[in-house]
């Protein structure tokens, strides 16, 4: 069982209090893009083996959505942040991975 920290409640709780809400920071494309770009946005995922940025919702608590950096093989959790705090950290990780 994962133990997740909610940055809003400032509490660490069992996974059962939370709902997984998928990959974090998928940018919505502007209006009028091609089917290929729209399909990419809807369906294509990074699905990384290693460190991943993901969204969790504290469904049995404050019901807010936050970001978690978690390793998808060891399931180790690096930390939880609000989405606003986490976005620049995620962008930095993605830029480093691309290099």
């Amino acid at each position: 069982m994962l133990r997740l920290h909610c940055p809003f409640c400032n509490e660490t709780r069992d996974e059962e209090e939370f709902a997984y809400a998928g990959e974090a920071f998928i940018a919505r494309p502007p209006e009028g893009v091609s089917d290929a770009v729209w399909g990419d946005y809807l369906f294509m995922r990074r699905n990384p083996k290693g460190w991943a940025w993901e969204q969790w919702q504290h469904t049995a608590g404050c019901r807010k959505v936050f970001a978690v950096k978690r390793h998808t093989v060891s399931y180790e959790i690096a930390g939880s942040w609000t989405l606003a705090e986490a976005k620049p950290m995620c962008e930095k990780d993605v830029a480093e991975a691309a290099r």
């Binding site: 369906f43 995922r45 699905n47 093989v73």
Partner: protein, 420 residues
């Protein structure tokens, strides 16, 4: 074809020699510098692909190798609950799985290897009025597609599964079920070994401990693969990597509409024969059958999060155990022997992705999610055709990767339900 046939005669002959002279079921070969066709992934689907390539498309496929990062049949093939059925709602899926079921029915003879395919029937229970309406709709759709399926009421279900608690006082009473008599189970290891042996006898080279670490793509065409055993050239590469599909796709420079999740299962201690069929329930979410060894084989739902760790969270097991006890209260004191997880690659519509990719000469067969075992021979058969002809097999055409651009999804997620 090399190797000796298994038969009563060979059993008798070797019996007289105290079984000392059986030859290995397949040969291990070192990695060669080049092949015409490489299959990445030595699970059931990959080995089936190689077998049908060698059997039906030898001229086009040329020299074939299967690369497996661990050992043959050691991934999801060894980790599933071995249920075989074809009672899917949508035409595209029903026809594909029915194609597989027909191949299952002759597979033991085809492979000259007993895959212990047992057509003991599959029951999908309904617990609410809406469940029963969905079941009627699915059974009618199945019948129109020539698939055997029946709607049973609670008494008829009880008559066939005496241990099932169908009393009205349950929290989720059983109102009825759909029944596919031709469904059943097969032996997972036997399927992998049977395909490996049969493919090897037709000249397919099987290379274990050989993980693909990179793809050599030049001008939009596949040229070869980097592996842990060195570089290998290939004209055509078919990837059947299950949970690691996204990882391999990234090496080739594109993304897949897949998420890899842990899926858990468990088996009990061996019991006397008590359950001679397969019982599945979407509403309470559990499914079970009894293996030839007498163990109850129980499947859970997927863990919600991404995971490549081949293990999930214990509360999922709790929910599954509760569901099984809801159906079979007498199993409440059965002890569980083992529990494990596999990595399932799930597409947004819970249907596989079979076909060409943005890279020429590179083909993918993935996204089988929680229900790939039942499709093993059919998946291999249509994928072999797809690779050999550079065109999807008619049954595989609706499952191309570009359905996520055109929007022609095949929504089995809602239709066949979560339990596979």
């Amino acid at each position: 074809m090399r190797g000796e046939n298994y038969s009563w005669w060979s059993l008798l002959k070797h019996g007289l020699r105290h079984h000392d002279e059986w030859e290995p079921a397949w040969q291990r070969t070192p990695l060669a510098p080049a092949y015409d066709t490489i299959i990445v992934g030595g699970g059931g689907h990959g080995l089936a692909t190689a077998y049908y390539l060698a059997r039906e498309h030898k001229q086009r496929a040329g020299r074939i190798a299967v690369l497996e990062k661990g050992w043959l049949g050691g991934g999801n093939t060894a980790r599933n609950t071995t249920i075989v059925r074809s009672n899917y709602l949508w035409d595209e899926a029903a026809l594909l799985y029915e194609h597989a079921l027909k191949l299952w029915e002759g597979l033991t003879e085809d492979l000259n290897f007993n895959v212990l395919f047992s057509q003991r029937g599959v029951f999908n229970l309904g617990h609410t009025l809406q469940d029963m309406r969905d079941i009627e709709r699915r059974v009618n759709a199945n019948n129109l597609n020539g698939i055997d399926a029946f709607v049973l009421n609670a008494d008829e279900v009880k008559a066939r599964i005496p241990l099932l608690d169908t009393s009205k006082s349950r929290r989720y009473p059983v109102l009825g079920a759909s029944w596919q008599p031709r469904g059943g189970i097969a032996h997972h290891d036997a399927v992998a070994r049977g395909f490996a042996r049969a493919a090897n006898r037709l000249g397919v080279e099987l290379i274990e401990d050989c993980e693909v670490t990179g793809m050599d793509v030049e001008g939009g065409r596949i040229k070869g693969l980097q592996t842990t055993q060195g570089y290998v050239k290939a004209d055509r590469v078919g990837c059947v990597p299950a949970g690691h599909s996204s990882v391999l796709a990234r090496m080739a420079g594109f993304r897949m509409p897949l998420e890899s999740h842990p899926l858990q299962a468990l088996v009990s201690e061996s019991l006397q024969r008590c359950l001679d069929t397969v019982v599945m329930s979407n509403a309470v979410h559990g499914y079970l059958s009894q293996s030839d060894k007498g163990e109850l084989v129980i499947g859970a739902g997927i863990d919600s999060y991404l995971g490549y760790g081949q293990r999930g969270s214990p509360h999922i097991i709790d929910h599954t155990a509760a569901a099984i006890i809801e159906l079979f209260p007498m199993f409440s004191r059965v002890r569980m022997n083992r529990q494990w997880g596999g990595i399932v690659d799930i597409a947004p519509d819970a249907c596989p992705i079979i076909g060409k990719t943005p890279v020429q000469g590179l083909y993918f067969n993935c996204g089988w999610g929680t229900g790939g075992f039942k499709a093993t021979p059919g998946s291999g058969h249509v994928f072999a055709h797809t690779i050999a002809h550079d065109e999807p097999h008619p049954l595989a055409a609706p499952f191309s990767l570009d359905r996520f651009t055109t929007g022609h999804l095949i929504d089995e997620h809602g239709a066949a339900g979560v339990a596979h």
